[in-house]
Symmetry: C2
Subunit: 320 residues, 2 copies
């Protein structure tokens, strides 16, 4: 096994070496989207799982890049749908170019992602499994994004619906990244399921932690202003619990039409009183532990097992 940094360097090097053909107007937004030296969490998972199963990670690189292209495609299209003008401190593609350009470049990225899965160096049967897993994952992520959009027009969202949404929108892709690594490694059905569950549960922990950071995080390390979810009345883990347990007070904030810092402070005061930060962290840690339990059954040696335990903790960023 290598370190997270080493896997991520392999991915970043391969992305930097990607060449795009004509027309430039189509591929410039794609190159822009793929730029940078990000953590590349999803392809790192794909490579690490393949490596843990003693597969040739150079063969797993093409599917791993497919996963990263796909992930970036979802961000590109989500930014248009959510009307988000920036991404990672830069203009979103639809703002830097146009919505039409962002739609088409995104469509092309989805097909390029599929192309990386199709053209991977595995026997036909394995490639069919990879393609099928990738495509099913993409459809599940679409379901999650749809639920997320549906929530925008709903006054109340149940915790159950919220968990379904994040399991599809975030869990499915992390699970898919692991499962694709497992298919590359020729995993047994049981081991494949263990890896998929690991990624899926990590996704749940990650999203709840993300909800917490949007209220309680540090703007410098987040790279974006906090409080965006409160400003947009987003149905997060915290918001749903506050609505269930202090509905009248939450309603009162909306009735008074508060905004800006006043609204943030008022909502945060309710979250604080209900101890939602700590309760959310405990819930996220629970999913994290479940993820680690899932991987414990994948039949890994100690070094590989340790890698995935460390990866899980580093993803949440709170060492226990």
């Amino acid at each position: 096994m290598k370190t997270i940094k080493e896997y991520s360097a392999i991915v970043n090097e391969a992305i930097a070496a990607m060449t795009f053909t004509e027309p430039a107007s189509l591929y410039d937004p794609i190159a822009y989207t793929m730029e940078g030296q990000g953590k590349r969490l999803r392809p790192v998972l794909t490579l690490a799982v393949a490596d843990a199963l003693n597969a040739d990670i150079h063969k797993a690189l093409s599917p791993a890049l497919g996963i990263e292209l796909y992930h970036n495609f979802t961000l590109l299209h989500d930014d248009i749908m959510d009307n988000s003008p920036t991404r990672r401190g830069r203009l979103a593609v639809w703002k830097k170019w146009t919505p039409a350009q962002a739609i088409l470049s995104g469509d092309t990225m989805l097909s390029l992602a599929m192309g990386h899965i199709i053209k991977s160096d595995f026997p036909a049967d394995t490639r069919i499994e990879l393609i099928d897993c990738f495509n099913a994952t993409a459809i599940e992520v679409d379901h999650g994004q749809q639920l997320d959009m549906d929530f925008e027009t709903q006054r109340k969202v149940s915790l159950e619906d919220y968990l379904l949404m994040i399991s599809q929108k975030t869990g499915a892709l992390l699970g898919g990244a692991c499962e694709i690594g497992a298919i590359c490694g020729g995993a047994s059905e049981l081991s494949r399921e263990a890896f998929r569950n690991y990624g899926y549960l990590l996704g749940l922990a990650f999203q709840i932690q993300d909800d917490i950071l949007d209220v309680y995080g540090d703007e410098a390390s987040l790279g974006k202003p906090i409080g965006g979810d409160i400003a947009n009345d987003k149905h997060t883990w915290l918001h749903i619990h506050a609505g269930d347990e202090a509905g009248d007070e939450m309603d009162d904030i909306y009735r008074r039409g508060l905004s800006g810092k006043e609204k943030y402070d008022a909502v945060r005061a309710i979250y604080d009183r209900l101890n939602l930060r700590q309760r959310g962290e405990t819930t996220a840690d629970g999913y994290l532990n479940n993820a680690i339990n899932a991987i414990a059954r994948a039949g890994l040696d100690d070094v590989a097992y340790r890698f995935f335990v460390d990866f899980a903790h580093s993803l949440i960023g709170r060492k226990k």
Copy 2:
């Protein structure tokens, strides 16, 4: 071989039997897009090619539906990009729902289309060929749509660029529909290429004919008002030739800022004088004949050959 109507009935029956899962907000726009009893030209080609090669057309039905889902996905996303409020006399999806909804439903349709190719009942090697052909076709269509969008901001477009654009945007998909049928039928490389070229050349003939009909067609049978291309200064086959051969007069029309019927009449008078309708029809017929020549080398029996000759003529709608 069956008739075009019979193949088209098989496709329409299968589309009517499609069931979509939850969330309804995601699948309602997809069901709406797939509704109706259209001609289904592309899947008809897939089925007919497979049938001509004595394949089991029920096995070719799933890839054929994938092609039709894909075609409708492109229309759905193109309507957002082109800001077109209607399609086939009904509201476009982005108008009936929202642009965000249309983006996501389109993304899902692309993955559903791929799903129909993946899950077809062929051996793994054949499915890889089908998937690869489908994906390469999708990327080529994206290139064509990009060129088409690039043209909108260009004052002049060369005939060469125009032909590249329509070969990618229209030719590639008709060619891909035929090639997918050929792969289903286990065609030799040579026969596969003959079918692809047939579809590709039909696409060129079809698009030039479409350009002509937008000026000279009959509103009742077209189902939309004529003159849209002239109103939007679209770089069509006619417009490019008029620009090359009567550039000063065309420029004069723009300088005078004509619009509506006045603009249409002025542009059409130039087209008439240059005899562009007849010259365009001759060019389209040339591509049609090339398509028929291509299919002549596919090793078909007389009945099958006659089917593809008739299909070509019916597509253009001008019996020779």
